[in-house]
């Protein structure tokens, strides 16, 4: 009997998708260490920006600069990071409302201990040294001094 035949099987999507005028602009700004949101007709500023108002469905295009600092609105301690997580030492997941924004951004906060974390904590982004225009250009947030 010969050996069992094997062949590699890689599950992948072999195409790229354009990020479009809203997400694309947000990512380009991240590359330049700036954070931009988008304003709805109601005056509400969405960060991260979306192409449509989640409440009315209207198309959005008015950009506004926000942050870069903001406050933690809710958080969860990650004592045992998984290999794919942004940090490999214990950290906090957090929703962060940046100055000038009305919605919160999901990110991580690098603090040494859980006892440092609280809702309302003021934080600011730590930028990745080499930025390529994607979410993880914000390496994490850290306590704003």
């Amino acid at each position: 009997m010969s050996d069992v035949l094997t062949a590699p099987y890689v599950l992948e999507y072999t195409y790229k998708r354009s990020t479009g005028p809203i997400i694309g602009r947000f990512f380009s700004a991240l590359r330049d260490r700036r954070i931009e949101g988008v304003r709805c007709k109601s005056g509400r500023v969405l960060v991260p920006p979306q192409e449509c108002d989640p409440e009315t469905g209207e198309s959005l295009s008015e950009f506004v600069s926000v942050g870069p600092a903001g406050v933690v609105t809710t958080w969860a301690w990650e004592a045992d990071p998984r290999p794919k997580h942004p940090l490999q030492t214990p950290f906090a997941w957090a929703l962060i409302k940046l100055d000038g924004a009305d919605t919160a951004l999901l990110s991580v906060v690098d603090v040494p201990t859980e006892s440092t974390m609280k809702s309302g904590l003021r934080v600011r982004p730590r930028w990745r040294a080499e930025r390529i225009g994607e979410m993880r250009d914000i390496e994490c947030f850290e306590v704003a001094t």
């Binding site: 991260p48 969860a76 979410m135």
Partner: protein, 314 residues
């Protein structure tokens, strides 16, 4: 609206299935059809719910169709969602009026891969998924938001946690029948007096995680607030979510929550929601209740919610 009822239900939960998808589905389909006294050729429409991400194979749900035997061709559909949404599609299909019966099934081998990584793939692909937040961490963000809201009593505060649920493999099947056909096939059908589902933003930071607005709207449209259910089966894998749902559904202490044990003890991903409907319907059919509520959820932190009201009728 045409009267439609749940006339039979079967479920199978195992810690880790040795079977493939079709083998997992086959016994529950056979049992549900058997209890209804039907054979596959008596079914007007078949609809299933599952996720290809669990097996990591595109169109894996097609293989599971072997469990129902799709030859000669049957009228069939699939949703990449919990089976509760397949039941919703079957309910809509029965409203067309040209068929009287439908078979709904769901399956999930949730233990095949790292479920916390797999569930991260349902998040926004640009803003959230690149950080691979796991479902339990996101549920913990929600639990904290609920604690911070100041709305909880001291005893409820202890329940506002995000302990990870026990992940299991499983399958479930439900047979639906309309009006007179339901009465002929079942001594006490559990009629669907209202069913509705609503969704909120896919971005977590846009929502107030301590409230479930979509549950409240779905409940209103399903007629939940005009009924007095004896039991409520809530699809809440995390205990903090159960508190949020009870609040949105305005359930008082008279209502028994999750007599089946709920999804915290047995979270068969893509199946647990359909099981809630089956469990609630069973309690109506076996005369434990005249009215019962079933809820199913999809997405992170109760993003999308379905409410199904079941009742006995003379």
């Amino acid at each position: 609206m045409r009267d439609v009822a749940v006339i039979s239900f079967s479920q199978l939960l195992v810690d880790k299935a040795e079977a493939n998808d079709a083998e997992l589905v086959m016994p529950v389909v056979r049992e549900a059809l058997g209890r209804a006294g039907l054979q596959k050729q008596d079914i007007g429409f078949t609809c299933s719910g599952s996720s290809d991400f669990l097996t990591g194979m595109p169109f894996s749900f097609v293989g599971a169709l072997d469990a129902v035997g799709p030859w000669p061709p049957i009228e069939e559909s699939h949703v990449e969602m919990d089976g509760a949404w397949a039941l919703y599609e079957a309910w809509v299909r029965l409203q067309h009026g040209d068929i009287d019966t439908a078979l709904v099934y769901a399956f999930g081998r949730s233990t095949l891969g790292p479920i916390e990584d797999i569930l991260a793939l349902q998040l926004d692909p640009y803003y959230e998924a690149p950080m691979w937040p796991d479902a339990t961490s996101l549920a913990a963000l929600q639990a904290r938001a609920l604690l911070d809201s100041g709305r909880l009593s001291d005893s409820d505060k202890k329940k506002a946690t995000a302990e990870p649920p026990k992940i299991v493999d499983g399958a479930a099947a439900v047979v639906l029948a309309s009006g007179d056909r339901a009465r002929k096939l079942c001594s006490r059908p559990a009629f669907i007096s209202g069913i509705d589902h609503r969704i909120e933003s896919h971005l977590l930071g846009v929502r107030d995680l301590s409230h479930s607005v979509s549950t409240e709207i779905a409940a209103k449209h399903a007629g939940c607030f005009e009924k007095s259910p004896t039991f409520a089966e809530l699809h809440a894998p995390y205990s903090a979510q159960e508190l949020i749902l009870c609040d949105a559904l305005k359930l008082d202490k008279q209502v028994t929550i999750n007599p089946s044990g709920g999804a915290q003890n047995n979270n068969a991903v893509m199946v647990a929601g359909l099981i809630r409907i089956g469990e609630a319907a069973t309690r109506v059919s076996n005369r434990e209740a005249d009215c019962a509520l079933a809820h199913a959820s999809s997405g992170p932190c109760l993003q999308q919610n379905l409410i199904c009201m079941l009742e006995a009728r003379a």
